[in-house]
């Protein structure tokens, strides 16, 4: 996803009438990945050093002057180290800055809690003016970069790391406040948030083998949400699961639960597949951590089957 991110930035800045407002601001992360952009756009690449608060304040200043900065570092630090600058300098002024967090969720599972970003959606979703986008693959990442650039306000772009499989084989209709259906199925619906998508798709395959038809959606826009989709799902299937590498508090599942409570409930049951309320200290990469916490395809399929049995479906 990070390669797709910078390639799309390079393309947008380099078009014959390339966007001269784009500035990439990093807090000393992105070894070599920015070389081409920097060479092609002298002056519009800024490495602030390992100083996320300064990076974010600088981006606000750049945007106040009419530029379109993208701040970039690991998602645990961006927003973790600069939350107040995001809230006051960017969101309060409603500036078109895109805050890019790379390796979100369990992307850097083996590096420990310093590098886990499992609360970031909650932090940013709660700030007025902020839009939260969680693309699920490299193709959606490119779409999300363009959507962020078109949007006249702050965006949090929550990315995976690198090497995520491509799940879209043609460009989808990606819209802020929308969602994208990847599988059809009327028994259950899986709303996958971000890079965990391949597990949801594999889970749907496993369920199909057992005769369970599960639809799968890329729920890439956590704020604003696709409430039209939610309306139709909760009136049509018996269970809706949100799958995200995030804790329960304030994440995408929480956003759907809030919506459901305000709606007065009804229709489908809402399930959560996500992280527990604890720091994760065991060694192992993202795949291992997903299995450990039940976010892998097999566990997801099992959870959905037992939930359906409880529903009596």
């Amino acid at each position: 996803m990070r390669d797709a991110f910078i390639q799309e930035i390079e393309r947008l800045a380099a078009d014959p009438d390339g966007d001269e407002r784009i500035v990439v601001v990093t807090a000393d992360i992105g070894n070599r990945m920015f070389n081409r952009f920097r060479e092609a756009n002298p002056g519009r690449f800024v490495n602030t050093g390992i100083a996320e608060a300064n990076m974010t304040g600088i981006a606000a200043g750049l945007a106040m002057a009419g530029l379109r900065p993208f701040t970039y570092t690991i998602a645990s630090f961006n927003p973790g180290r600069c939350l107040e600058q995001i809230r006051l300098d960017i969101c309060q002024h409603n500036l078109p800055v895109t805050v890019v967090g790379v390796g979100a969720g369990l992307g850097y599972a083996s590096l420990g809690p310093t590098h886990h970003a499992l609360e970031d959606i909650a932090w940013l979703r709660s700030i007025p003016n902020m839009t939260v986008l969680c693309p699920c693959d490299p193709v959606e990442t490119r779409c999300a970069v363009r959507a962020a650039l078109r949007h006249d306000g702050p965006v949090y772009l929550r990315l995976g790391k690198k090497g995520e499989p491509t799940v879209h084989f043609r460009e989808p209709d990606f819209r802020i406040g929308g969602s994208i259906r990847l599988r059809e199925g009327g028994d259950a619906a899986l709303l996958a948030v971000g890079a965990v998508m391949p597990e949801a798709l594999k889970a749907a395959d496993l369920l199909a083998e057992k005769g369970v038809a599960a639809s799968v959606y890329s729920f890439h826009s956590v704020k604003p949400m696709d409430t039209r989709l939610l309306e139709s799902l909760f009136d049509s299937v018996s269970i809706v699961f949100v799958i995200e590498e995030h804790v329960a508090s304030g994440g995408a599942w929480s956003a759907v639960a809030e919506w459901l409570a305000e709606r007065g409930g009804g229709g489908a049951r809402l399930g959560r597949i996500g992280m527990p309320d604890e720091f994760h200290h065991l060694a192992g990469g993202q795949g291992w951590a997903r299995r450990h916490f039940g976010l892998d395809a097999k566990s997801v399929a099992g959870r959905i089957r037992s939930a359906l049995k409880k529903c009596g479906s």
Partner: protein, 286 residues
């Protein structure tokens, strides 16, 4: 606002910076008294700096308040908003009636600057340690866009406790951002103590020098000198730090160097005494 101060502020067309600073101080006293707003000491210490910046130090004027080429003053000391508002009103950035919305229920101006404040107020403020980074961003934008404007952040000595100030300072020094200036209103106090006793604040000018800045120490109540320094910076390959040594509560004898006036508001008798002291400074002939 009292009619006297109102007529003084709206009538001022001169260019005597000590008179200007006196008007700003009167505006602070009146705004604070009318609305029960604190932080009078911080407002009074920064008055001469604002007079210098808005009356000749920076390329700012009401007519060019929206020009992309204007100099930018980024005000970090958000708690001294009453001083900023008084300065901008006196300079003619907005009608004096705008101040009627300050710190009143439902008014458009809270106690700290917001994102939609009137012309002349470049950024919201109130949380410390933000202004210098925003100023760095504005300075970088000028380079990227090929504009000639300069940027000046006005920050406090207490604000220099914030690590982000030094992130921005180290970066600006490393990049040699000559069009950037930081004015530190060094009034010697912060929230609940003397700034020099809480952290190793001094030698403050040397700190900025060590971070790659050109640093100048100056009497922060000499507005003519401040104006000359502000008018001159912008070349030389380094950002400029002006360490303005000030007195908290300057201009009102019973407030000077007394940190109670970080929090206290004025009794009617104190207001009259304060106005009398400030007005004793030569004021413009009507």
């Amino acid at each position: 606002m009292a009619e006297g101060a109102k007529s003084l502020l709206s009538a001022y067309r001169g260019n005597n910076l000590r008179e200007v600073a006196g008007l700003i101080r009167l505006g602070v006293i009146e705004l604070s008294h009318r609305t029960g707003t604190a932080h009078i000491g911080s407002c009074l210490s920064v008055a001469d700096i604002l007079a210098a910046a808005y009356w000749g130090g920076l390329n700012v004027a009401p007519e060019t308040a929206a020009s992309p080429d204007r100099d930018r003053l980024v005000f970090g000391k958000g708690h001294a908003a009453a001083a900023l508002l008084s300065a901008l009103a006196a300079r003619g950035f907005f009608p004096l009636e705008t101040l009627d919305g300050f710190n009143r229920e439902g008014g458009l101006l809270q106690e700290h600057p917001g994102p939609d404040w009137p012309a002349g107020v470049e950024t919201a403020a109130g949380s410390l340690g933000h202004a210098l980074s925003i100023a760095v961003g504005l300075a970088l934008a000028a380079s990227i866009q090929g504009r000639g404007y300069r940027v000046c952040a006005v920050i406090g000595d207490g604000e220099c406790n914030e690590g982000s100030v030094w992130e921005a300072a180290m970066f600006a020094g490393g990049q040699g951002l000559a069009r950037l200036c930081a004015v530190v209103d060094l009034n010697g106090w912060q929230g609940i103590g003397r700034s020099g006793e809480i952290t190793a604040l001094e030698p403050l000018a040397d700190k900025w020098r060590a971070f790659g800045w050109h640093a100048i120490e100056v009497d922060g109540h000499d507005p003519d000198k401040l104006r000359d320094l502000l008018a001159a910076y912008g070349d030389g390959g380094k950002p400029t730090a002006i360490i303005a040594r000030t007195v908290k509560g300057k201009g009102v004898s019973f407030m000077e160097d007394d940190n109670h006036w970080h929090y206290r508001t004025l009794k009617p008798s104190e207001r009259l005494a304060a106005v009398a002291e400030i007005a004793a400074i030569p004021t413009p002939r009507q």
